[in-house]
């Protein structure tokens, strides 16, 4: 589903990813672990197509297509979803209006029929209950006044609503206490499916206790320096990044 070859990319003329290779197949959950500054967020922004992030060499192929040739919004319509580390607050746009606008924008781009407000509400309600996203939150301005946990739950709610093919979760565990983490992880696990691939980006092993990956990649200085199964997370936790990176060199 996703094939990244020798990817060099950066922002503002500074190269951050320096020859990254990664293959993720449908049905798999991969974790990218790495210390601060290793390029984790850059990878997520490059995949989502954030303005200002530039690919200088290499390629990203998604479902057989050159991902870099697609606009940010076109990627979303084709099933790329990025759960953001810092979901933005948008005063003046209610959460439900935002969900409806986004869902219909994606449907329109795919040539599907738009959904009316009632159908969207029905669909959102069902999913919201599982993630303990209250009706009251849906009526409030997007993310405004939401706690860290509420923001992350809303990200997962969106993931569930948009049904992406490739979900990238950028530091979804940051700022969550253990109960919130468990709730979010349950939401993510419920979305595991043979048609869907997930890329879980995290600094800490903790999240991977709840979302157990098929494969772990260690990112350091813009490259994957070590790969392994889920046990690699425990090794990282025990030895620390520095030692693992040194061992791999």
């Amino acid at each position: 589903m996703l094939e990244i070859r020798n990817l060099h990319a950066g922002v503002g003329g500074k190269e951050i990813l320096k020859g990254l290779n990664l293959t993720v197949n449908a049905g798999e959950v991969h974790a990218i672990m790495g210390p601060n500054g290793s390029g984790k967020s850059t990878l997520s922004y490059v995949l989502a197509g954030r303005a200002g992030y530039e690919i200088t060499a290499g390629s990203i192929t998604y479902m057989g297509e050159d991902l870099n040739a697609l606009s940010t919004e076109a990627r979303a319509a084709k099933g790329v979803f990025l759960a953001m580390q810092y979901p933005v607050e948008i005063p003046g746009v209610t959460t439900l209006t935002f969900l409806k606008t986004a869902l219909n924008a994606q449907r329109r781009a795919r040539g599907e029929k738009e959904m009316d407000a009632m159908s969207v509400l029905k669909r959102v309600r069902g999913k919201a209950a599982e993630l303990r996203v209250s009706e009251e939150m849906l009526k409030r301005a997007l993310n405004v006044g939401f706690s860290g946990g509420e923001k992350k739950r809303l990200e997962i709610l969106q993931m569930s609503l948009f049904e992406p093919r490739l979900a990238v979760l950028d530091e979804t565990d940051s700022g969550l206490d253990i109960d919130a983490l468990r709730l979010v992880a349950e939401g993510v696990n419920a979305l595991r499916s043979p048609e869907r691939a997930m890329l879980v980006i995290t600094h800490y092993q903790r999240l991977l206790d709840y979302i157990v990956p098929d494969k772990i990649h260690v990112l350091s200085a813009g490259r994957i320096v070590k790969e392994g199964g889920k046990e690699l997370a425990l090794e990282l936790e025990a030895k620390g990044y520095e030692q693992i990176v040194k061992d791999a060199a």
């Binding site: 979303a76 948008i90 746009v93 606008t101 924008a105 994606q106």
Partner: protein
């Protein structure tokens, strides 16, 4: 001509048409658009009034907020007046060049809803004098459509104890346009609540306010939002005076501008003059572009760039009409939608 009008004419002639070297007109160089001869010979503006629950009265010779209000007093040979004793409504439309004087009297305890639209080109200068009695409420809705001339509205208002002046404005600009308001909160507990948007594409709109807290326990709030595209220029000047003895006054003013083009300009100038103790005055001004994080977030959810920008611009403007009654809000919002 009465002595008062003669004096106004004399003063206006002595100073001439205001220009950019006069502090109050720094961002609105009227002299480059009209000369004194044009102002004096502008003739009478035409208007339509549909009103209920009001009595028509003479325009009289009220006060003015600034230099052009003074000019309207001196040279306008037309005008009308409305007096509300209980609950009145008026819809007023100005569509021609020329000058006029308007007098509004809201009797103690009464309410008047005044919905004003301004349209058309040429030189239009409307001077308005408003007297709000004790416990009375004056709701002023102003929609100034996009034009290519010079359009000025000058409002001088006096608010008695517990009276309220409420303004909701939507401005779409002209070659030069200005709403200048002077509101004196003269009685204990009087208040002024002003909010508005300017949506400008290559045009100019100036909102200049001067609120005087002359009595204790008075309150004023102001929130103006501007969106400027092309070579537009958005101006907000908000002067606030808290007079000696006006203790316990509370004022908040906020002006924000979104610049959608690097050639667009916004000049936001809050100004405070405080002569009393124990007052609360908060003010803020901010000029910026659309937030890049917000734009990315919306696009990453599949919302195309144009639609995402539109959503953020509407959200930015919408705050100015928070809490405005639904039907008035719809009236103000329709031309905003058209302009976006």
């Amino acid at each position: 001509m009465t002595a008062l009008r003669a004096k106004a004419a004399e003063d206006f002639r002595a100073r001439g048409v205001p220009h950019r070297r006069v502090e109050a007109w720094k961002y609105s160089d009227l002299r480059s658009a009209v000369d004194a001869g044009q102002v004096e010979a502008a003739g009478a503006a035409a208007w339509t009034v549909e009103a209920e629950g009001v009595e028509q009265i003479a325009p009289g010779e009220g006060g003015f907020a600034g230099a052009m209000g003074e000019a309207s007093l001196a040279f306008a040979d037309a005008g009308f007046g409305l007096r509300a004793a209980k609950a009145g409504k008026a819809r007023v439309h100005f569509a021609t060049p020329g000058q006029a004087r308007v007098r509004i009297v809201v009797e103690p305890g009464a309410e008047l809803e005044y919905i004003e639209t301004a349209d058309g080109g040429g030189f239009q200068n409307i001077g308005m004098d408003v007297s709000i009695g004790e416990g009375a409420v004056f709701t002023h809705v102003r929609i100034a459509r996009a034009g290519d001339g010079v359009r000025i509205a000058d409002v001088n208002a006096a608010v008695a104890a517990r009276g309220t002046y409420r303004l909701h404005a939507a401005h779409f600009g002209s070659a030069l346009s200005r709403l200048e308001l002077k509101i004196a909160l003269n009685g204990e507990g009087a208040s002024a609540h002003l909010s508005g948007v300017s949506v400008l594409d290559n045009r100019h709109a100036d909102v200049t306010t001067h609120i005087v807290h002359a009595a204790g326990g008075t309150e004023s709030t102001q929130l103006f939002k501007h969106v400027a595209g092309g070579k537009a220029r958005a101006v907000y000047q908000g002067k606030l005076t808290v007079a000696q003895g006006a203790d316990g006054s509370d004022s908040r003013q906020t002006a924000k501008a979104l610049l959608l083009d690097e050639r667009a300009e916004a000049d936001l100038k809050p100004e405070l003059e405080i002569f009393a103790d124990d007052v609360k005055c908060a003010h803020g001004a901010a000029v910026g572009d659309l937030d890049a994080d917000s734009l990315f977030y919306l696009r990453a959810r599949g919302i195309a760039e144009d639609e995402a920008r539109g959503l953020l611009i509407r959200a930015f403007l919408d705050e100015a009409f928070d809490g405005v009654r639904d039907d008035l809000r719809a009236l103000l919002w329709a031309p905003v939608e058209e302009a976006l």
